[in-house]
């Protein structure tokens, strides 16, 4: 699956490459909305229809868009909004208000943000909003003054809707939904969330006021569709300046494997884009196409086990300590250990089997132990560290056996006796 770019006479290869990279990067980094959301036509229609009614008829509504991360909730909403704003009647007729649960962490901030986005702050002259209470009363009053036919509909878009449900008393949600259920200014409350159980978070009064419309974005793409998608993602648009460029896909088995694996792991496009982005960045003037090996490499980068990577950078001493911990885990069946136990185990190894490793002073070993703790390869089990001496703090290893073994295999110039020790523990005799 590669894209072959034929050299063009009037356009240097470097320029073409940079063009291609620009287009594709825009696509992968979500800077440009796709023409049409893929695989969610009915949801698109539903949402568009709903918002159109709010905008045109002044009907208040509330809706939740639910879907796992990266399933295109925001993309869908943005597409709908773009389409909505293209309609002439609607264009100047709606006031979108964007809120994000991660930014507006409590109702006070959210209210200020709403006021700002509605451009209401200057209406009362130079008045500065002192208190939260004032602000709330102010906003409610403003919304109450409107009525269905005369005031402009407001679209409240609450990203990370579930986080708003954690605000105190859910005041904001109650009020927004209450407005949407009473004859006040027309509003549409659109919540975006990835939590399927978001309704259970709502308080019963708030829940009763919510219209219980949910739009689920659950991708049910088959692998074939997924491949099609990858293809369309990589193909260049029709109006690419250089007509001699065209894409050709070869059904290289290795690429399909990579993609299949990727598909198995996650179906969303964001991870795919990450993968393709990595592959794309390897394209250069000297290597003007994405080759299967590029994808393989990218996939390897994506799939790589971060902890195993860390292990590669450890010193022999630290590695030895980890092996000692692994044995302790085996002996005590996952019970926590402390430094003293690890040190004893390590000393046993040094005395009985080691040929290549010198004896280390205890402070040096402690230092290595602390380093491991900083790397979060081991984790303290007690919450309060103050009372207990460092040597006796209970620790747990945050590594899987397989990870340790894999790291040992790959560790450059690992002494054989250490490897041996990792496989066969030193037995008490």
């Amino acid at each position: 699956m590669s894209k072959r770019k034929v050299k063009e006479t009037h356009m240097p290869v470097g320029e073409c490459i940079s063009q291609v990279q620009m287009i594709l990067r825009e696509r992968f980094c979500h800077q440009r909305l796709p023409e049409k959301p893929v695989g969610m036509e009915s949801q698109h229609k539903h949402l568009l229809e709903l918002l159109r009614r709010t905008a045109v008829h002044g009907e208040s509504n509330s809706v939740l868009i639910v879907g796992p991360r990266g399933s295109g909730k925001t993309m869908l909403l943005n597409c709908v909004l773009r389409e909505l704003l293209e309609v002439k009647d609607v264009n100047k007729n709606v006031l979108p208000v964007h809120l994000n649960g991660l930014l507006q962490t409590d109702d006070r901030i959210a209210l200020k943000e709403i006021t700002r986005q509605l451009n209401l702050e200057n209406v009362v002259g130079d008045k500065v909003f002192g208190s939260f209470a004032e602000n709330l009363a102010f906003l409610l009053e403003a919304l109450k003054k409107g009525d269905r036919s005369s005031s402009r509909p407001v679209l409240f878009i609450l990203d990370e809707f579930d986080l708003f449900a954690h605000h105190k008393n859910q005041t904001l949600l109650y009020n927004l939904l209450d407005v949407s259920q009473s004859a006040q200014a027309p509003v549409a409350v659109i919540g975006l969330t990835c939590r399927l159980d978001v309704l259970e978070l709502l308080e019963k009064r708030v829940k009763s006021r919510f219209s219980h419309r949910q739009i689920h974005l659950l991708s049910s793409l088959s692998f074939i569709q997924y491949l099609d998608n990858v293809r369309s993602q990589l193909s260049l648009p029709q109006d690419f300046p250089d007509t001699n460029f065209y894409d050709e896909w070869n059904d290289d088995q290795s690429v399909v494997d990579v993609l299949q694996r990727h598909y198995n792991s996650s179906k969303d496009f964001r991870s795919l884009h990450l993968l393709l982005m990595l592959a794309l960045s390897r394209v250069s003037a000297s290597k003007p196409a994405i080759k299967p090996t590029d994808l393989l490499e990218a996939s390897r980068v994506c799939m790589v086990d971060s902890k195993a990577n860390i292990l590669h950078g450890l010193s022999i001493l630290e590695l030895c300590l980890i092996i000692a911990m692994k044995h302790l885990n085996d002996i005590y069946e996952g019970e926590p250990f402390n430094f003293q136990m690890v040190h004893n185990e390590f000393k046993k190894f040094l005395q009985r089997k080691s040929h290549s490793i010198h004896n280390f002073d205890k402070p040096v070993v402690i230092k290595a132990f602390e380093h491991l703790q900083q790397l979060e390869l081991i984790k303290s089990m007690d919450s309060s560290t103050a009372k207990i001496q460092k040597e006796y703090q209970l620790m747990k290893l945050l590594l899987d056996h397989s990870q340790i073994m894999e790291a040992l295999q790959k560790y450059p110039q690992c002494p054989t006796d250490v490897k041996q020790w990792a496989i066969v523990p030193v037995l008490e005799t």
């Binding site: 208040s60 402009r152 996650s266 945050l398």
Partner: protein, 904 residues
């Protein structure tokens, strides 16, 4: 709606009498316009009223009559009798201006007719019992001089008020002494006998002018119901326009003929009265005779009067005059319709006049209040500008039309200072009327009238005239209301009228901005489904609240009794969300407000706070105080102020009805907010009624400490969740004959919702969604039929089905594998919880079985996190890494079911 047949707080129950009197064939014949006696609780003195019109009620079983009440002195409250200032004549009656009493009566209660004599004649010796006298009007607060307009028959017959320029500055001083009391009236009055005859003539007329009647109808309906006035008016007007072709014909004849004024007026009044023309002609001669006398009072005026003017009596002018008169006429519900009364104006107490319009505006004010209002200044200003206007008057002499105007003006000279609306105002009034007329879609038949410029040369058709007079009246009603608002804004303390206070524009400091208005107006629903959807929206206010009649009645009685007694009390209302608690209370308050507008109960203030709409329980004080007095203070200060307000006696304190929604959120540790809210009503002078709403039935027992719960008292009410029948009824009543749903479909929805929660909001939302699905299911939105079972089923599925199973089915392979690993690990451990590490071991084993390449730990963690974000799994904080514990958020069976379906 509770309707009281009361009259000035005296409850009056009609006995349905056996003397059957009907319009045509009975012993006593009564016709609209006649004065009648109506059976009351006192046989000696039956009630007096003027019959305005007959109509049958909806079922046509009972004949009803619309009347204008007159009051006997005995009906006036004892303490107010002194206001009359003189000893009353036994046969004297008063024109009733109050609104407290229903002006619909049963036709069967009419006893007979009575002779009625206009006020100018001095009181005769008490003798004939069937003759009564009207001199003053009574508006429940004070006696006012009866405005002649009230007694007039048609707008056209109204003598126009003089424009001031025609009136020398000295005129009003000269007029003042003259108009002291009826007896001393300087203007020659016509012979009483003639008057009486004339009165009976006009009284017995079969019909009134159509336009007039429609106004009456419209106005009475307006007062009776809450329907929008404009709608009715426009409807009536259309009717009246259709009614009057005959009138117009006659009118076209009239300019050519040499006619006296009264003649013309008579004709205007009634085109069917050909036979009576002789009488009216006779009559007119006497009237015009008297007119000449009156005009000779001031040389200026007599100058105005030219024979020419009398001949060419322009209809246009009467409309102008109406324009000016209407301020006086507007306050009344009905204009009475006695032609001759109009010709001879009332004796007037000039003091009242100077104070402003005695009969002005619906707010039933005493004249004194008006003195401070700018209107009076206006009059003075007018006088100041007279010289310039004199030129105009000179012109008017040349122009016959204006001359007549002047002549007419001169007739009721005592009226001048008040009733006149300055010219400049007229312009604006016309502007306003233009706008209103546009709204009423009346442009087609009134357009020509409007422009100010052709006032004196343009002679519109009668049809125009009538409709214009109607609309002009209405205009003035609106306009004066606006003026009231303005005036009270300047002198707020002098206008205790509650309505006016509401109009008072708030100072910029408290100004609240609103959402900018839209550029394109909202589109109205196009087809049946859209219509149904609009009706089903929770926000649309239904005409009535079905299924909550009992609760409505209980709350209504509770609040009403407290308001009537001037005491206080608390009530606690509970019920699950969406059972209509707040809606019912709002409905109760609406009805009570209406009742207090009708003067059936004392006025009261309604204040609403909502625990959810405030940031802190103590904000409740701030909000209450702000709504009561428009002050903005801090919570502590507000609490102190309210404390003071509710514990100190104050004269004229009106009852406050306070609705506290979502009471449970006002809970504080010390519960002082709740304590205060429930303690205030128990104060002696508080006059506070507190209605509280919360969801749980046992809230007082659960969260309130004893002293708070005890003060809340035991007046409790609980709203049960709606049963399916009630839900069905709610939807049906909302849809209100819009046929959009199949009967079975409705039943399914209501049964489903009733079984789950009984939440009406949910029910409506589902129905709304079903209409959408129905609309989308067909290709053309217009061809969409009824909402059927399958649509409703789909909507129900969408709203009620849990999405977990679909979510699992749509998850990626590794995610599904991980879920299976979780279950496998749970089975192995026998616990419902496992660490990631343990699960991951299982996961590896499973993927080996499945023939998949095992994934790394990092990938596994990513998979696990994704499931956790969807809340298919419950995870510990991710910093625990491999050791975080994993639990399922779905039942194991569901997972297995979903995964099994995937495999198959």
């Amino acid at each position: 709606m509770v309707r009281y047949f009361t009259r000035l707080r005296m409850r009056r129950i009609y006995k349905w009498v056996s003397t059957y009197v009907e319009g045509q064939e009975a012993v006593t014949t009564v016709t609209p316009g006649q004065y009648i006696l109506i059976e009351g609780n006192d046989d000696e003195y039956p009630f007096v009223a003027k019959l305005l019109k007959f109509f049958g009620d909806e079922s046509h079983k009972q004949k009803k009559a619309l009347v204008q009440w007159f009051l006997r002195l005995s009906e006036v409250p004892q303490n107010k009798k002194l206001l009359l200032g003189r000893s009353p004549h036994p046969q004297e009656i008063f024109y009733y201006l109050g609104r407290a009493c229903d002006n619909e009566i049963n036709a069967e209660s009419i006893l007979g007719t009575v002779q009625h004599v206009p006020e100018d004649t001095p009181f005769p010796e008490p003798g004939t019992k069937d003759t009564l006298y009207v001199k003053l009007s009574w508006d429940t607060k004070a006696f006012n001089v009866l405005d002649p307009v009230l007694m007039q028959d048609t707008p056209a017959s109204t003598p126009p008020k003089p424009a001031l320029p025609l009136f020398p500055p000295c005129a009003s001083p000269t007029a003042t002494p003259v108009s002291r009391g009826p007896v001393r009236r300087a203007l020659p009055t016509p012979d009483p006998t003639v008057m009486r005859r004339a009165g009976s003539v006009s009284d017995t007329r079969a019909t009134m002018s159509a336009g007039k009647r429609s106004t009456l109808e419209a106005e009475s309906i307006h007062s009776a119901s809450k329907l929008s006035a404009s709608k009715i008016l426009s409807a009536k007007r259309r009717g009246s326009a259709a009614d009057t072709p005959g009138v117009r014909k006659k009118l076209q004849l009239s300019p050519g003929k040499k006619m006296t004024r009264a003649d013309v007026l008579c004709e205007l009044l009634d085109e069917e009265m050909e036979s009576e023309k002789v009488i009216s002609l006779k009559l007119s001669s006497s009237v015009s005779h008297s007119l000449q006398h009156g005009c000779s009072l001031s040389p200026m005026r007599s100058g105005c009067k030219t024979p020419n003017g009398q001949r060419r009596f322009p209809w246009k002018l009467s409309s102008i005059s109406l324009d000016r008169l209407s301020p006086t006429a507007l306050g009344e519900q009905d204009l009475s319709s006695d032609l001759l009364l109009a010709v001879i104006p009332l004796a007037l107490e000039d003091e009242v006049f100077e104070a402003g319009l005695p009969t002005d505006a619906g707010s039933a004010n005493t004249p004194k209040k008006r003195q401070a209002t700018p209107r009076r200044n206006y009059v003075r200003e007018q006088k100041a500008t007279t010289p310039s206007r004199r030129k105009e008057s000179a012109m008017a002499i040349r122009k016959p039309a204006l001359g007549v105007l002047a002549e007419e003006d001169s007739e009721d000279s005592p009226m001048q200072p008040i009733a006149l609306t300055p010219r400049s105002k007229r312009k604006s009034a016309q502007l306003v009327s233009l706008r209103i007329r546009k709204q009423l879609n009346l442009l087609d038949n009134t357009q020509k009238l409007i422009s100010d410029g052709d006032d004196d040369c343009f002679v519109p058709s009668k049809k125009d005239l009538q409709s214009s007079s109607d609309s002009e009246e209405e205009t003035m009603v609106r306009k004066t209301r606006g003026r009231n608002g303005k005036a009270s804004a300047r002198t707020p303390c002098k206008t205790p009228s509650k309505k006016v206070c509401m109009v008072t524009p708030s100072t910029p400091r408290h100004a609240t901005p609103s959402i900018p208005s839209r550029t394109v107006p909202a589109r109205q629903p196009g087809n049946i489904l859209e219509e149904a959807r609009a009706r089903l929206h929770v926000s649309s206010v239904p005409e009535s609240l079905p299924c909550r009649e009992q609760e409505f009645q209980d709350i209504y009685n509770f609040v009403e009794s407290k308001v009537m007694d001037g005491t206080g009390g608390c009530m606690y209302i509970s019920g699950v969300p969406g059972t209509g608690k707040t809606a019912t209370i709002h409905e109760v308050i609406r009805c009570l407000q209406h009742a207090s507008d009708m003067d059936e109960i004392p006025t009261f203030r309604f204040i609403e706070i909502n625990g959810m709409k405030m940031t802190d329980p103590h904000q409740a004080y701030v909000q209450i105080l702000q709504k009561l007095t428009d002050q903005k203070v801090t919570a502590d200060h507000a609490a102190a102020l309210l404390e003071k307000r509710f514990s100190n006696p104050a004269p004229k304190k009106e009852t406050t009805v306070l609705l506290v929604d979502e009471l449970d959120l006002l809970w504080t540790r010390k519960q002082n907010v709740m304590y205060n809210l429930f303690d205030w009503p128990t104060r002696r002078h508080a006059r506070l009624v507190v209605l509280t709403i919360a969801n749980t039935m046992d809230l007082p027992e659960r969260i309130m400490i004893n002293r708070v719960a005890s003060r809340l008292g035991l007046t409790r009410m609980s709203f049960q969740p709606y049963s399916f029948k009630q839900l069905q009824q709610i939807i049906t009543s909302r849809l209100n004959k819009v046929k959009a749903f199949e009967e079975d479909a409705l039943q399914l929805v209501s049964r489903k919702v009733a079984a789950l929660s009984g939440d009406a909001r949910r029910c409506l939302d589902i129905c709304r969604r079903a209409t959408e699905i129905c609309e989308h299911s067909t290709s053309h939105p217009s061809s969409a039929g009824l909402v059927r079972m399958n649509h409703v089923m789909e909507a129900l599925d969408e709203m009620f089905s849990s999405s977990y199973i679909t979510a699992i089915r749509c998850a990626s392979l590794q995610e599904q594998l991980f879920l299976r690993a979780v279950i496998a690990e749970f089975r192995r451990l026998g616990l419902e919880e496992a660490t990631f590490q343990q699960v991951f071991v299982q996961h590896r084993a499973l993927s080996r079985v499945e023939g998949l390449q095992p994934i790394s730990v990092s990938e596994g963690l990513a998979v696990c996190q994704r499931l956790g974000a969807c809340r298919l799994l419950l995870l510990e904080a991710s910093r625990l890494d491999m050791l975080q514990r994993v639990r399922l958020n779905v039942s194991q069976d569901d997972v297995l079911y979903a995964l099994k379906a995937v495999r198959d």
